[in-house]
């Protein structure tokens, strides 16, 4: 059996249909989209088609879509440049945000540009909406940055509810939608939201490309200066194949969404049920065991305390199973997950994030369950020393 990939929240496999859409721009149609000759014009029209595709899928206008090098740049742009443009003095976020949001806001707070408040979370990691309102009441003209779907524990927020609250208090609302883009339908006609983002590689598109949606009511300064690309909002020659690949990936994601949702929810449910039955003391972090009210692609499992928990991920890797302890993005650091830390998850428990994708199968899930059951069954059967 080939390697089982259950780390789809870190990155996903490029869809072959997407690669096929990219290849012509990696070969014969290689021009610089800003060039006015035929090579350039051909590529320009491919980029604008991609913009229109993405805008249409999200019920936005093409003029509201700006291409970036990925989700991190899009988050940095929304946060840094809205604070700069509107001279905001205050921001509200949560301790379980992705580092692209947290580190950016913390950097601005450290420089004394903003005061940063954290909204309270309950023991499941859910946002305390009453506390958010309380914060907003005392701090007018605030940036609120709350992620739509948490990459580690799968918690979802109600974008519509939060956006209404933000509107009521005249706050700017940014949501890191990296984990939900392409996995849920976003209807921006229906939402009072200022900024959302996408990273293509989280929905079977290429790495190195993303986008920022800027609601037409906003006009913010650029984050990367130089050149008139992206209507003066983002300097630099466009990642042409990346952009075309991203649009294709989002198109496929929307086309097949219902089938994929059903398929992946089925895998997640199977995993929750069998693990619960097979491994005594197993729990699930955050909302992730609530299949219909969490990111259906993420399951954060908390294994009972064991001396082997330290080696759990490596043992899974030896068994040809790829998953993660949390976010891949805390690269090179050995600090524990800040998300699980915020939830006060006991450090002796073994925490593993399994994240599913459209290419995963029931057989793979059964194999993973067998391997895990064996690891933990051994513990139960082993005689006491």
């Amino acid at each position: 059996m080939p390697r089982i990939y259950l780390d789809n929240a870190a990155t996903t496999r490029l869809d072959d249909e997407v690669l096929q859409a990219m290849l012509p721009l990696m070969t014969e149609n290689f021009g610089n989209p800003s060039s006015i000759h035929a090579h350039g014009r051909q590529v320009r029209s491919a980029i604008e088609r991609a913009r229109k595709t993405i805008a249409t899928l999200l019920s936005a206008s093409p003029s509201e879509i700006f291409f970036t090098s990925g989700g991190t740049e899009a988050d940095n742009t929304a946060i840094t440049c809205s604070i700069d443009t509107y001279q905001l003095k205050h921001a509200i976020t949560s301790p379980t945000e992705h580092h692209a949001v947290l580190h950016t806001l913390e950097h601005l707070a450290k420089q004394g540009i903003i005061e940063l408040s954290y909204v309270k979370l309950n023991e499941k990691g859910q946002v305390d909406v009453a506390h958010l309102e309380e914060l907003l009441r005392t701090k007018p003209r605030t940036l609120v940055s709350l992620m739509h779907g948490n990459n580690e524990i799968g918690n979802l927020i109600d974008l519509k509810q939060i956006s209404e609250i933000c509107k009521k208090y005249n706050a700017i609302f940014h949501s890191d939608t990296v984990q939900t883009m392409g996995h849920y339908t976003h209807n921006l006609q229906d939402l009072n939201i200022d900024f959302i983002v996408g990273a293509a590689h989280k929905f079977h598109g290429p790495k190195g490309v993303g986008f920022l949606y800027i609601n037409a009511n906003n006009k913010i300064h650029p984050f990367i200066h130089g050149g008139s690309q992206e209507r003066n909002m983002r300097g630099g020659t466009e990642n042409v194949y990346g952009i075309v690949g991203m649009a294709k990936a989002l198109e496929i994601a929307y086309r097949d969404m219902e089938a994929h949702q059903n398929h992946i929810k089925g895998l997640k449910t199977r995993m929750i049920e069998k693990l619960t039955a097979n491994i005594p003391g197993i729990t699930f972090n955050g909302d992730s065991a609530n299949v219909d009210n969490s990111l259906y692609t993420v399951l954060s499992v908390s294994f009972p305390p064991s001396s082997d928990n330290d080696m759990l991920l490596f043992n899974l890797d030896i068994a040809q199973i790829s998953c993660s302890s949390g976010s891949a993005c805390s690269s090179g650091t050995d600090v524990g997950s800040h998300v699980l830390g915020a939830l006060n998850v006991h450090p002796d428990r073994g925490n593993v994030r399994f994240s599913f994708g459209k290419y995963n199968t029931e057989e793979e899930i059964d194999k993973v369950i067998d391997v895990l059951t064996e690891i933990y069954a051994k513990k139960v059967l082993a005689p006491n020393p």
Binding site: Y5, D7, E28, T237
Partner: protein, 383 residues
Amino acid sequence: MKYPIYMDYNATTPLDKEVLEAMLPYLTDHFGNAASRFHAYGWKAAEAVDLARQQVAGLLGASEKEIVFTSGATESVNLAIKGVYEAFSRKGNHIITVATEHKAVLDTCQHLEKSGAEITYLPVDSEGNIDLTLLEASIRPTTILISVMAANNEIGVTYPLKTITEIAHRHQVLFHTDATQAVGKLLIDVIADEIDLLSMSAHKLYGPKGVGALYIRKKLNIVAQQDGGKHERGLRSGTLNVPGIVGLGKACEICQQRMTREAIRLGALRDSLENGILGAIPETKINGNITYRLPNTSNICFGRIDGEQLLMSLNEIAVSNGSACNSASTEPSYVLKALGLDDDSAYGSIRFSLGRMTKPEDIDFAIKHIIEVVNRMQKVRVF
């Protein structure tokens, strides 16, 4: 679709087939996130990034730890200039650059001016050269950075990096070079030239679009501009564009092997293009210094001719009348204006930039085509 003959390699280059071959495994089976530390998908991606880092460092004479991957030269330039400005704010707020720099440098400097930076934009002479005495005289106690491009994208003029770094370092000032047009075309050695920061991009050297690098000299600390998961040793967060980085590395390796021979070949083709045009069409002249310039670039002024019409009529060849990055603008080239050309002469100038696929027949064809078009336009003008 049938394309005209491509002579706009300074705008972008086709992806080398070998580079695409190197990238494909990372666009298919090896799709891991290079930051995934717990499984083979992640390790495979991280290994590929390490190799690419060696390949880029190899071309520049740098060591691997001095290379930071970015989304392209524009981001590299932004990181270098803003990163130095933030890190050295205690020392001063003055930056020296040149009026003919790429917009990536100029726009970044103009942005910093709004937050209190003082910028000196050095003028150039009629050949595009900078006055090194004036450069040194412009240094103040508050000067933190000198940023001069290695080669100009429009006229191809190259600048004496070693001499400039000596001046900068004599006054304890850092030196950044936007080497986007020079890397892969000319030998650049960051150690010999004592460069502190160097920006480059992949798509100008037959690598992919959407990826570039910043060289940051060892022990030089600058402030990151894009925060997140502390990728690239905290200097540039964001999931690494693994296939792009692999492509950049391979493109650098190929350039290192072929650069010297290719420079000679392109220099000869460029010279025959210029001889063919200048010999047949009166009033034409070359813009910029012809001794110190890129071997592949020629910027020719066609005299008092309707530049826009000329460019549109040259539909058998793909050329440009300035930087592609300013094509949204209908203004004449600010680079040529800085050389002292009037608006008409600037509009009437065309940049030819040759590259790996340019063949001698293409040059002969282009010369014939250009002569025909110019003759036709001049005839029309007579009537």
